[in-house]
């Protein structure tokens, strides 16, 4: 309905290859970003930042990473939490052990370590497929849980086993207020979203999808499964690792291995299922959904209970949350395997064809 595409013809491949070939989309995304950068800080309060916006951005980033592996390359992973942990602890150690280590660099290097570990645990994916691989990634999960709990060196021998960082700053810019943290996360999220988008629309991205859709055909046209899968693991775990580091540094500040348990892995998996497998945008949708839903339930359910005169315990809320997530996963897998992102693109198509249905 909002689209007026007449006259938007492409005279070069570059213009046809744009991420947003349609002018109206470019305007839309620009407005959205402007809103996120300038308007949100004015509107949001501390709680908003801490409880919703920052977790949303970081988890979206992690989901984005996972989506590259699962959604684009079709390699299931139940060990995302582990890779986040690697990122977090690696960054932590670099940050506290090497003095003068810039935070951002530490975080990125954390990602690098995570990428390395990712590749390590990705190696089985060359021999084994699907379900078997899922178990391999679980191995990563449990091993890392254990390692960061039991191997004191990683936690810098802290007695409690929990670690903490402070005094974050970026090129002299001190980052302590939630507002600043939000902007940091936003910036990183946007940059990585762009890089990821570039990858998936370039030939490496096509190789990943080829492996996902039909690996034999992919091999026959000369794609090396080894390379495709391992790069997917590397890129994915890199982003996940960075997200992990941010989660520790920026969101938690002080954390224990439990912060990256298997539940985290599942949570991220759910994000991309609900948000949309194989969609950058979807990762953000999914994250938003799963971050907001519990908060919503925590508000809504007791209120609802109050209406009918039942008091609903927090435990009950937690369990309902479980049930709703479970049900939603199944629902999406059955009804819309491509998640919210697909709904979004369908809606967009409809707007373009408006008033016609198809």
């Amino acid at each position: 309905m909002l689209y007026r595409e007449n006259g938007q013809f492409k005279t070069s491949y570059t213009s046809d290859l744009q991420v947003f070939p349609i002018a109206q989309d470019r305007i839309g995304i620009a407005l959205l970003l402007a809103f996120a950068v300038f308007a949100v800080p004015l509107l949001a309060d501390e709680y908003m930042f801490r409880a919703i916006l920052i977790p949303f951005l970081i988890l979206a980033l992690a989901a984005l990473g996972l989506n590259i592996l699962v959604g684009y390359c079709g390699q299931i992973s139940l060990g995302t939490g582990a890779f986040m942990a690697v990122g977090a602890y690696a960054a932590y150690n670099l940050f506290v052990r090497i003095d003068g280590m810039p935070m951002l660099l530490a975080i990125l290097l954390g990602g690098a370590f995570s990428a390395a570990v990712g590749v390590l645990f990705g190696i089985p994916s060359l021999r084994i497929k699907g379900l078997y691989l899922a178990v391999a990634t679980l191995a990563a999960q449990f091993f890392c849980d254990w390692a960061f709990l039991r191997i004191k060196w990683f936690t810098n021998d802290s007695a409690s086993g929990s670690v903490s960082v402070s005094g974050l700053s970026l090129l002299g810019w001190k980052i302590d207020t939630p507002h600043e943290k939000y902007l940091l996360c936003l910036g990183i999220a946007i940059v990585f979203a762009m890089l990821a988008k570039n990858l998936v629309r370039s030939h490496i991205g096509r190789e990943w999808m080829a492996i996902r859709d039909m690996d034999v055909a992919a091999a026959v046209i000369g794609i090396r499964p080894v390379y495709a899968k391992l790069t997917a693991f590397a890129v994915s775990s890199f982003i996940v690792g960075v997200a992990g580091a941010l989660w520790g540094f920026v969101h938690l500040g002080a954390w224990e291995p439990a912060a990256f348990s298997i539940d985290r892995s599942f949570q991220l998996l759910f994000m991309i299922i609900i948000g949309g497998l194989g969609s950058i945008m979807g990762s953000f949708f999914g994250a938003a959904f799963i971050v907001v839903l519990p908060i919503f339930l925590n508000q809504a359910l007791p209120a609802l209970g109050a209406l009918v005169g039942v008091t609903i315990s927090t435990a009950a809320v937690a369990h309902t949350e479980f049930m709703i997530f479970g049900a939603l996963i199944v629902f999406f897998l059955i009804v819309e395997p491509h998640g919210l992102a697909r709904l979004w693109s369908i809606g967009k198509e409809k707007l373009r064809l408006w008033p016609f249905p198809h």
Partner: protein, 286 residues
């Protein structure tokens, strides 16, 4: 006359099998691909037994046989999907006792698949683009940081896009460029499959039942495309078909398989005359 009734090049250029092969045979070169004494087993099951034949440059070489004669297995051996227990494959002088898909692709052998093996999640364009992967040089970083202003990756994309567009034009699927392959009718998906193979600029093109499940016009179009590929790019073509009719029209030499054994080899006429072939084809011949 209005926009919708204009006649594109499609209508006229109906292939004239009678004339063209003659033109081709003149250009036929020496042996490029030689298969000798291939035997393949799955567990106890014998898929292929002691198969030998050769393929000459620029020719259209058909492998025919009833369903289950081991035709597809033969292709799968040639391009490294299966590893035969015995036998050798010689390609341009280099001999292998088993092929590796990547190597085969690098040596310039492309193929299409019997039951479509397209990348369902991608558009027509991306499917064909993926056929260019061997020719793409930029590394991950370059791709991650690609942009319209200063980027090798972007330039590379555009260059290969143009090649791909020529193929799209050649196969007359301009109208479906950005459609997800899944949504295309079967006949068009077959074309995309062919397009993906062509994108590799192959010297040898293996076609696995390119006309299976097509109606008459679709078969005609497909034969035309195959012949055009063979003429325009001089590509050597090895195609599998169980439908004898079409094959005999467009191929120069034919190998006949039955129950994993070779029962005939020669020009279409010779093969037609071959008693074993006739008996093997009784009932199934089209």
């Amino acid at each position: 006359m209005s926009a919708d009734t204009a006649v594109g090049p499609t209508a006229a250029a109906a292939a004239d099998p009678a004339a063209v092969p003659g033109a081709r045979r003149r250009r036929q070169g020496e042996v490029v691909l030689e298969v000798s004494n291939i035997s393949l087993r799955f567990g106890g099951v014998k898929a292929l037994t002691d198969i030998s034949f050769d393929v000459r440059e620029h020719e259209v070489r058909a492998i025919i046989g009833p369903n289950g004669a081991g035709k597809s297995s033969m292709l799968n051996c040639i391009n490294g999907v299966y590893t035969p227990q015995e036998g050798r494959i010689t390609f341009r002088g280099r001999t292998f006792d088993h092929m590796n898909s990547r190597e085969v692709a690098e040596m310039g052998v492309a193929r299409t698949f019997q039951n479509l093996a397209l990348f369902k999640g991608m558009s027509v364009l991306d499917n064909i683009m993926s056929g260019r992967n061997l020719k793409m040089r930029t590394n991950i970083l370059q791709q991650a940081f690609r942009n319209p202003w200063w980027s090798g990756a972007e330039r590379e994309e555009s260059e290969h896009r143009e090649v791909v567009e020529r193929i799209i034009d050649f196969l007359e699927i301009q109208a479906y460029r950005k459609t997800p392959v899944g949504r295309l009718p079967y006949g068009l998906q077959k074309r995309v499959d062919l397009g993906r193979a062509l994108a590799m600029e192959p010297q040898v093109l293996l076609l696995d039942e390119p006309m299976a499940g097509m109606n008459v016009e679709e078969k005609q179009d497909m034969s035309r495309f195959i012949l055009d590929v063979n003429d325009e790019y001089g590509t050597t073509i090895v195609l599998i078909e169980h439908d004898m009719g079409v094959v005999m029209d467009i191929s120069d030499r034919v190998v006949v398989l039955d129950y994993g054994r070779k029962i005939g080899d020669g020009t279409p006429d010779e093969v037609r005359a071959n008693p074993d072939v006739i008996s093997a084809y009784l009932g199934t011949s089209h």
